[in-house]
Each structure stands twice: as structure tokens, then as C-alpha cells.
């Protein structure tokens, strides 16, 4: 990376707006159909006692909920740290240190997720939800941080000048002009972060954090393919749903009047 703070943003722009609209309906429908078929298959086949212990509504709901919870906590941490940090790093007085923070976030993403998770566990000796959520948040922080910075930097300087020129304070310009106009990019970053988080949350069981990874692990270790498949398909379905929610947010939360 160069020493300047010109950083490329993550973008989830794909194809035309019309294609996006179609995806908005097709994606959740596909998830429901696939997950439904797999569940029907898993519940109607003859399961042995080990399989039956995992493949029951209560357990699947528990594991899915744990997975969702990790994702939500990660999202909250990522937004709570990435967006304010990005805002601070675009202030003129903080420009010199921006590359340092971007560098740290880069390391977080470049390092293997499992490594970050295990190192954090060894360091803190915590286990459970927070032991999983914190390293996963570190791992998926970069897209939100980077897109917040890029989003704010790409606001037309003439608008910032106009805002200051008619008497807005610096914070007024930041919160009423720069951040709202950066929201589309911030949301695109959040969507990428969330998809990363859902995927990585399958590793949470290593630190006793629960989640759908546990089903995959059980199925693999005890050689029960049906448990493994149910866990994997639910994780994939959840990732697609989270991506879909991200798309919905991008569609409806962006500032009006831009298109």
C-alpha cells in the first residue's frame, strides 16, 4: 500500500439495477427452497441415535440462533468501531496516522481467521460468545473501516466548502453532509463484513462459542454425513440471507435524491 490515504473501497455493485431487483427476490426464495429441501430430507430419513441427537428442531434452532447472535454482535462491534474510526481518520489532523490503522485492519483480515481466533483465546483464556465475537470482529473490520474512509473522502469537496461557507460547523458538515453521502459505501462495506462474519462464525465452536460449526464438526468427527450436510447448508443459507439483508439495507437506507 502506498503511504497516502487514497484507499480503494469494497464495492458490491454488480450488474444493472434491474438485475439487483431480481436478485432481491430470487436470493431469499432460493435459500428457503434449498434449506427446506435439505431439512425435509434430514427429518424424513431414518436417523440413528447419534444423528437424532443433533437433527431435531430444538438443537438446530439453538445452533442457528447462536450463529446469528455471533453475527449480530460482530456487526455491532464492526459498525461501532469501524464507522467512528473511519470518520476520525478522515479529519485533516488525523490524516498522517490513517495508514497505520488501515495497516492494522489489513493484518486482521490477511491473517487466517482461525489463527486470530486461537491466538486471542490463548492470550485471554476466555471462551464463549465474546471469545468468538471479538476476534471475528477484528477479522471483518477492514471493509467497514476502509469504506467509511473512502466514502467520506469521495464526497465532492465543493459540497464541504459550501457547507462551511454557509456557516455549518465542522461537525455539522461531517454529520449532515459527509457521512450521509458516504452511507452507500459504508453499507456496502458492512455487507461484505457481515458475510465474512457469518462464514467465520462457523469456527466459533473452537472457543466454545457455539454456532452451526458445531454441527459440521460433530458430523465430521462422528462420521455422520447428514448432520454435516445440515450444518453446512444452514450456514450457507444464513450467509446468503445476511447478504440479502445487506442488499436490502443498501437499497433502502441510502440517502435519497442521489439517483
Amino acid at each position: 500500500m502506498s503511504s497516502t490515504t487514497e484507499i480503494q473501497g469494497f464495492s458490491t455493485e454488480s450488474g444493472s439495477r434491474r438485475a439487483d431487483r431480481v436478485r432481491l427476490f430470487a436470493q431469499p426464495a432460493a435459500v428457503v427452497v434449498i434449506v427446506g429441501l435439505v431439512l425435509v430430507w434430514a427429518f424424513t430419513r431414518t436417523n440413528d441415535s447419534i444423528e437424532a441427537e443433533s437433527i431435531q428442531a430444538g438443537v438446530l434452532l439453538d445452533k442457528t440462533w447462536e450463529h446469528v447472535l455471533i453475527t449480530l454482535v460482530v456487526a455491532a462491534i464492526v459498525v461501532g468501531i469501524g464507522v467512528p474510526l473511519g470518520m476520525v481518520l478522515t479529519r485533516s489532523w488525523a490524516r498522517p496516522v490513517a495508514p497505520l490503522f488501515i495497516g492494522i485492519a489489513n493484518i486482521g483480515q490477511a491473517a487466517p481467521a482461525l489463527g486470530v481466533l486461537v491466538l486471542f483465546f490463548l492470550w485471554t483464556e476466555w471462551d464463549g460468545l465474546w471469545a468468538a465475537a471479538l476476534p471475528i470482529a477484528f477479522y471483518s473490520l477492514l471493509p467497514v473501516l476502509r469504506n467509511t474512509i473512502v466514502g467520506i473522502q469521495s464526497v465532492d469537496p465543493a459540497l464541504v466548502d459550501a457547507g462551511k461557507g454557509i456557516g455549518m460547523s465542522s461537525s455539522g458538515v461531517l454529520f449532515r453532509i459527509e457521512v450521509p453521502l458516504a452511507i452507500p459505501l459504508i453499507l456496502a462495506g458492512l455487507r461484505t463484513s457481515l458475510v465474512l462474519a457469518v462464514g467465520t462464525a462457523t469456527l466459533a465452536f473452537f472457543v466454545n462459542g457455539g454456532g452451526l460449526g458445531e454441527l459440521v464438526d460433530t458430523g465430521y468427527k462422528l462420521n455422520r454425513v447428514s448432520v454435516l450436510v445440515v450444518g453446512a447448508v444452514l450456514a450457507v443459507g444464513l450467509a446468503l440471507l445476511v447478504d440479502w439483508v445487506g442488499a436490502l439495507l443498501e437499497e433502502y437506507l441510502g440517502p435519497k435524491g442521489l439517483s
Partner: protein
């Protein structure tokens, strides 16, 4: 009109802007008084510091040294944000916030000044009416849904929303097509007749400066004032080669746009005759007595109709059809440029009419050249005396 002036005087004294790491200041020792209620244009080549100078008035750029007072108040002692809320600011391409509606854009400064909702809403409607945008139609539109000219109008409305005594305009009409620009300029002049703000206007277009300015400051490098005077004076007598170069070719023609026919000594000695009251033979007799070869035929309401030559009259039976119809006419409100156009197309002599279209005189090429000559001499004498 003096009691209607809502603008205040701006004074800049020895204002200098030096950027760190540069040897020469961007603006050097700038001193100028901008009279209350007038439009003062800062004009000069790119990079001469005219925008920097203007931006120091509302302290978007902090002066390195010097004094700036607005209406007697020391601008450098005020809080910068508070100062800028009292100084209107309009920029090129309007600088409207794309995620705000037209109404929200106009309401920004009143909102910053904590006006109550009702007052803001009324003010938004009032401002939209003022700049010629129907509130019912445009209030809730976003800037992207407006044409360039409409955006610029909203920009002006936003700058004026809190009724600031001073308005700074940074090449506001630079990015619109020439026709729209002309309309916006006319509208600014119309607004100014009503509002009488103190307007500081930056442009690099000298024609725009001549059209809008009560006074023009031609600036050179480091914002040094080459000449600060009325457009008439600058056109008649550029202070130095740099100003002359900036005024460009056609200074005399540009001067003609500043003068009205009513300001010059047009002739009122043409022989006129009211058609229904006279016959061709009577007119012929009068013309030979007075030694005139041409006469102007008027209708019952004294409006010019036809030019007749004395020899046309021998064969004519009525004055209503004799001679040739009067072509281009000018009114006393017309500019001398329009008059010159009429003189050229009429072949040496154009008819001047009053406010109801009645004959008041004629104007010819000598009147125009004498006027220009006289202006030059006046401004020469003026600059020699000072």
C-alpha cells in the same frame, strides 16, 4: 433609495495571505472599501488570488495579517461559523446538497440560526418565489431533478435565506450555458434593485463584470489592485496595459451597452407631421420653407410611421402611404448599442420613441461617437486630477 439599502460596508485593510512554505504571499497587502448596497466585481486572470481574497471576507481562509470589518464590526474577532451564517455564500454549480430537497437546502442557514419551523417554512416559500421557482412544484424536489439554471437559483435563494447584509458569489454563473447565464444575470440585477445587498462577486469574465458591477476591481498577481472604478471609467480609460489587455478588444462597443439613449443628447429637430391633420401639398410647402429634404409622418397618437422625401410628395395623394415605413426604432430606455444597431440598419438615422411609443427625437452616428469621445475626455481629466 438610500433608506432601502440592506447591505453594509466592507473594509479590507492591508490584508495579506501567506501560505506556509511559499515565499511570495498569495494575497499581498490588499486594501479596499466595498460600499454598502453595491455590487463589486473582483475580476482577474486565473490564479491572481481573487477567490482567496473573497474567501478571506467570510474567513473560509484565515488572513495572515490585516484587518477586515463588515458593517464596522471586526470580522476577525467573531467566531468563524457565526460570521459565515451572517454572510451569504453562493458558488459555482450551486453546491447544493444532493441528499437535501430544495426546501431543505434553502432552510439550512435559518435552521442553523434556530428559527422556528413555521418561520423557516414561510421563508423558504418566500425565497423560492423571489428567485422564480414555484414552491408547490419544486419544494420537495432533489437538486438532481433540476436544470443547471434552476440549481443556481436555489443556490442564490439558499445564500439569501437568512437575509444576510453581505453576499459573496464565487463565479456563480460559470457553469451554465450562455443563455441561462444571461437570464440569471438579469435576475440578479432585478433582485438587487429590491434587496440592495452588498455583493462581492468573483469572475474571470470581463463582460459579466461590466454587466453586473457597480464597481469593478481588476486584479493582477497577488491580488494587487490594478484599477478599482466604475465599469464606464475602466472601459473609457484603462489604468495600465494589464487592465487594457483584460478589457480586451471592443472596449468602446462594451461602453455602448452601459449607456442609455436618454443619457445622451439626441436630436429633436426633425420635421414631423401628424398624418390625419395635414396634406402632401401643405407638407411640401413647409419643407421647402424650412429647407428640409426629409420629414417624419406620425399617426394620431404621435407614433412614428413613415419617412418621406420632399420629391415623394409631388405625386402623393395622402400622407398615409407616401415614402417608406420607419424600420428599427429605439426607445429612450434602449442602450446605445441597440441604438447603433438601429442607426446602421436604418442608414444613418434612427427614430427615438418615448415610453408610450411616441416620437421624441432622432439619433445618428455622430451622437454616438461624440458621446464616446466625451466620456474618454472626462475620465482622462478625472484620472489626471487624482
Amino acid at each position: 433609495m438610500a433608506e432601502n439599502v440592506s447591505g453594509v460596508e466592507i473594509q479590507l485593510e492591508n490584508v495579506t495571505k501567506r501560505y506556509p512554505g511559499t515565499r511570495e504571499p498569495a494575497v499581498k497587502d490588499f486594501t479596499m472599501t466595498i460600499p454598502a448596497g453595491k455590487i463589486v466585481i473582483l475580476v482577474g486572470p486565473s490564479g491572481c488570488g481573487k477567490t482567496t481574497t473573497m474567501r478571506m471576507i467570510n474567513r473560509l481562509i484565515e488572513p495572515s495579517s490585516g484587518r477586515i470589518t463588515i458593517g464596522g464590526e471586526d470580522a476577525l474577532k467573531l467566531n468563524g461559523d457565526a460570521l459565515r451564517r451572517k454572510v451569504g455564500y453562493a458558488i459555482q454549480q450551486a453546491g447544493l446538497f444532493p441528499h437535501f430537497t430544495v426546501a431543505q437546502n434553502i432552510a439550512v442557514v435559518p435552521g442553523l440560526l434556530d428559527w422556528d419551523k413555521k418561520r423557516i417554512s414561510d421563508r423558504v416559500d418566500e425565497m423560492m418565489d423571489l428567485v422564480g421557482l414555484d414552491p408547490a412544484v419544486y419544494r420537495d424536489r432533489y437538486p438532481r431533478q433540476l436544470s443547471g439554471g434552476q440549481q443556481q437559483r436555489v443556490g442564490v435563494a439558499r445564500a439569501l435565506a437568512a437575509d444576510p447584509p453581505v453576499l459573496l458569489m464565487d463565479e456563480p454563473f460559470g457553469a451554465v450555458d450562455p443563455i441561462t447565464r444571461g437570464n440569471l444575470q438579469d435576475e440578479l440585477l432585478r433582485l438587487q434593485l429590491e434587496l440592495r445587498k452588498t455583493i462581492v462577486f468573483v469572475t474571470h469574465d470581463f463582460d459579466e463584470a461590466v454587466k453586473l458591477g457597480d464597481k469593478i476591481a481588476v486584479l493582477g498577481d497577488q491580488s494587487t489592485i490594478q484599477q478599482y472604478d466604475t465599469p464606464e471609467a475602466i472601459l473609457a480609460n484603462p489604468a495600465n496595459d494589464m487592465v487594457a489587455g483584460f478589457v480586451g478588444a471592443g472596449a468602446s462597443l462594451k461602453q455602448l451597452t452601459l449607456l442609455r439613449v436618454r443619457d445622451v443628447d439626441y436630436h429633436d429637430d426633425a420635421l414631423t407631421v401628424v398624418a390625419p391633420d395635414s396634406s402632401p401639398s401643405d407638407l411640401r410647402k413647409r419643407m421647402t420653407e424650412l429647407g428640409k429634404t426629409y420629414a417624419l409622418v406620425l399617426d394620431a397618437r404621435k407614433r412614428p410611421q413613415r419617412w418621406v422625401h420632399v420629391r415623394d410628395l409631388s405625386t402623393a395623394s395622402t400622407l398615409a402611404t407616401v415614402g417608406r415605413p420607419v424600420g428599427d426604432m429605439v426607445s429612450t430606455q434602449s442602450t446605445l448599442q441597440d441604438a447603433l444597431e438601429a442607426i446602421l440598419s436604418e442608414g444613418g438615422n434612427a427614430v427615438v420613441t418615448g415610453s408610450r411609443g411616441e416620437y421624441v427625437g432622432t439619433i445618428d452616428i455622430n451622437t454616438v461617437t461624440d458621446t464616446i469621445q466625451q466620456l474618454r475626455e472626462e475620465h482622462d481629466a478625472g484620472s489626471a486630477a487624482s
